[in-house]
Symmetry: C2
Subunit: 546 residues, 2 copies
């Protein structure tokens, strides 16, 4: 999409209407699914129309002073009802908007945020911080229960500026409501980039990335947004919090690390100083094929333990490679990439390919090293777009649009992601696959489960699993709930995290409760009590108010 093109955000699903699947793509998807699962007569549901859905009457009315920044517009309320999870789309397609926020507020400055929180605190109104609304864990859904008089979705879109760029330290002071493309556009004239490219890049904001510990471009080293946060500023119900801008510190537990991942439960992030990168000018990349996924994983382990720090070292299992048009289903694929604004990467790439070769990895003819440097999520238009990496990248970015249509075809199309140490990885993966495939078979009769690595660490990988299964229209929520419960129980039982980079929200909360150390729960609740004594900030995520 060019910047000038018309863009209408879908109120019920992923992205913009103008980028939705063409009729041809829809037909091809139907044929592909019918063929893959030996089905016939699949029919995507029509998108819901705003005029056909009913929203509950707003239960609250803003005080006059806040009326100008609050909206009860139907499109806004519907559009702020859900994040972008599979079950959000299913519910939207079914016309269920019963959790719509009573109001959507668009604060223009910090005083507005403070005033909104004051009003919410005084009236026991839930305050739901809203960035781009791309949560896949019900992190922005006003499902807050009867204890609250109502709910306000606080959309931070007016906090959209890069305030200051420090080219010497390579950092910028950025408002939290800025979306990915606007952020990168503002940095580009300075030769700088945040290089944080989650799949949601176009439809998510800096504040959302920080609040959810978003995972981004880099497969190693700087995996989460966390490490790029130099300082953070947030409005809490009891005052503004801002940390010193520091390259590093050892002064007590990090204040930033408490706000990072706080999911709107402790405060509303309004700005941050972010660490930036020079725009890469050197690239080395390869697509490497492996006879099996286990060997590919061993190659990843070798590379990350070698201290080479590739920007990309993602592997796709056979199914994942097939579904993404990257390979024919007989091999696992690694998308390997190094990048630098400073130096040629031959030594790095050479050694990484040796690690691959040690584990049976080969570079296919015609996909010479250096040509396939694109990385997951990359919107970096200077990156190569050819070869397996390019194919995968395109599939990856378009995926959520396809997901919306699959949901409307009655499918289960869901993902879950985790992290585990290398010593447990092989057994963990086998058991997770077995559990998932079993429950998918039980629930849907058939289905495909695939795995890739999104990020990797010296002590373990972050595997990402995708489920595609023919569900039953009208029963998808119950079907998914059964699958979700089995899978999540397995993750926690086997020692994985309930989320590596999707955040907890309301969707993962029951299993997060099992993962979270009990003492930490009390500590976090104590911290929340101090910052949000009325317990109005995003109730339902992370921890309950004391």
């Amino acid at each position: 999409m060019s910047a000038a093109a018309k863009q209408t955000r879908k109120f019920w699903g992923w992205g913009i209407e103008e980028a939705d699947l063409t009729q041809e793509e829809r037909s091809a998807l139907v044929r592909s699914m019918e063929q893959r699962f030996n089905l016939s007569g699949l029919e995507p549901a029509a998108p819901p129309r705003l005029e056909d859905i009913a929203l509950p009457e707003p239960r609250i009315k803003p005080p006059d002073a806040l009326a100008a920044i609050c909206s009860t517009d139907k499109f806004e309320r519907a559009g702020h009802t859900y994040g972008k999870a599979f079950r959000d789309v299913v519910r939207a397609l079914a016309g269920d908007f019963s959790n719509a926020p009573d109001l959507v507020a668009f604060p223009k400055n910090e005083q507005d945020v403070t005033d909104l929180l004051d009003w919410c605190g005084g009236g026991k109104i839930a305050a739901i911080p809203y960035g781009g609304g791309s949560s896949v864990v019900a992190g922005v859904e006003a499902d807050v229960g009867e204890a609250y008089a109502g709910a306000v979705s606080i959309d931070m879109k007016h906090f959209g500026k890069v305030l200051e760029v420090d080219t010497v330290s390579r950092a910028a002071h950025i408002e939290a409501g800025i979306y990915g493309p606007a952020l990168e556009a503002a940095l580009k004239p300075h030769g700088l980039t945040l290089r944080h490219f989650p799949q949601s890049f176009e439809f998510s904001t800096l504040g959302g990335w920080i609040a959810t510990r978003s995972g981004g471009h880099y497969a190693t080293l700087y995996t989460h947004i966390d490490d790029f946060v130099e300082s953070v500023r947030a409005v809490t119900p009891t005052g503004v919090m801002e940390s010193f801008r520091l390259p590093g510190s050892g002064a007590g537990p990090s204040p930033d690390r408490m706000m990072i991942g706080s999911e709107g439960a402790l405060g509303i992030i309004t700005a941050a100083w972010m660490r930036l990168q020079d725009r890469p000018t050197f690239r080395a990349g390869a697509s490497v094929t492996f006879p099996d996924f286990a060997e590919a994983a061993e190659a990843v382990r070798a590379i990350v333990q070698a201290g080479l720090y590739p920007a990309n070292v993602r592997i796709l299992d056979q199914t994942e490679a097939l579904f993404n048009g990257v390979a024919d289903g007989s091999v696992a694929v690694m998308v390997l990439g190094f990048e630098s604004a400073d130096h040629p990467l031959d030594a790095w790439m050479t050694r990484a390919l040796e690690c691959c070769a040690d584990h049976g990895g080969t570079v296919p003819d015609g996909a010479a090293p250096g040509e396939a440097g694109a990385t997951e999520n990359s919107r970096d238009t200077s990156a190569a777009r050819t070869g397996q990496a390019g194919a995968w990248r395109e599939a990856f970015i378009r995926m959520p649009y396809f997901r919306d249509v699959l949901a409307g075809m009655g499918f289960i199309a869901e993902t879950f992601e985790t992290a585990i140490t290398w010593d447990r990885w092989p057994d963990f993966h086998r058991e997770v696959m077995e559990t998932t495939e079993k429950v998918v078979r039980e629930v849907c009769g058939q289905g495909r489960v695939s795995c890739r690595f999104t990020h990797a660490y010296p002590d373990g990988p972050a595997p990402y699993y995708s489920i595609t299964a023919p569900g039953r229209r009208g029963a998808q929520l119950e079907q998914m709930a059964e699958i979700k419960a089995a899978v999540s129980e397995a993750l926690i039982r086997l020692g994985g995290t309930i989320t590596h980079h999707h955040a907890v929200g309301r969707y993962h909360r029951p299993w997060y409760d099992k993962q979270m150390p009990e003492a930490f729960r009390r500590a976090l609740a104590g911290a929340k009590k101090a910052l949000d004594p009325a317990g109005v900030l995003n109730p339902g995520v992370l921890v309950d108010p004391l």
Copy 2:
């Protein structure tokens, strides 16, 4: 010192008696200081003798069940009175042990720790966690005020084992009371190393490193212990807290990051899973001289912003280089080192030296690249020991022994360290140097202030300042307090952190209070209240109990 040699810990100062300065070294130090500051008649004080000092009577008596693990032995109480700061040594030399803990406890297991905390909580007794006692910020000093019935120093030395080594993930489960050398000795047979070598390495523990966000071996990337913590276990007054063992997670604010840097105020760390490294087999190093410190700093910036991640990229200003026997005082010196267990480092080193050359850095004749790979704090006996890096390393490790003697000669011998972004660094450094030199002159008449970088980040350096000035015996504490106040005010006013890796303790607390966001103080106090409702854990550090 060989492991078998007799080692008697000094109860009043740094290290072990057997490694203290020889008579020759003392005489040389006296001559050197007389010459440097144009003085005569300097005379080191005799070390205090245990029999000459008086300790206050213990105010508390342990319950019978805890009597076996509690000691009122005079050596133990005196030895646990202070950390190892300059002012600790000055007070010890003056025979002031008025803050001696009433008891020293040596728990043998977590139940003992729980029982001790139960007893302390019930009797409003301060519980001071004690690792190796190497704090330079009064982090282990029982200076807790009249609100407490007494104070127990809880020495974790019996938690001294490596419990499990996972060579696949390169991680180990380690008890928190283990000292540096024992830890590395236990890992060595596995070909692994934590590579965390603070100056205090021989006399500090894993738990202490984690509780204080200790800075270690690596000048870049893995600067603090933080990143090596895979999971942590702690006993709090309200229960044991243990996080999942994960390579990465995005599930809420990190529980580990709350305990890391908590300085004993939230719980007593008993064990941790730590990320390890393969023992390096490839090394590349150089000592690079620069005409001035500012250019050396620019070279550091170029190297860290290039994404080369050297293990060492420390620079010494002219004075620092002179005092450490590394150069003649006319040049600044960079100690540059790369290490790897996986690959040759020529490409890395070549590019780093180009960055140096761009800023006037030259490698002196006779100090060829590759020969000087020792890194700050390195106890890694396989590292090279020759050249400027080797000279500096020796001086660095022996420094605290010399400091003890300087304290006894009436000198001010103190350091402070911070971090600041690159854009502010030049002005920051000039103002900090001017402020420090001015107050040293005012207080002592003369003195030398020097600077080096201990760690460096893409967005800024961590400068470390050393003060050597002829104070007045009997007035050193007041003199130091005046200097400390002026320096700390400047650090905070100019936007630096009050500590990059020495922790806050009681010494930095007044300025930490100015740095800490007010909302975070409330949040941290709320967390503390939840974990330590009686407020007995290390009162005085970080935050006051609610």
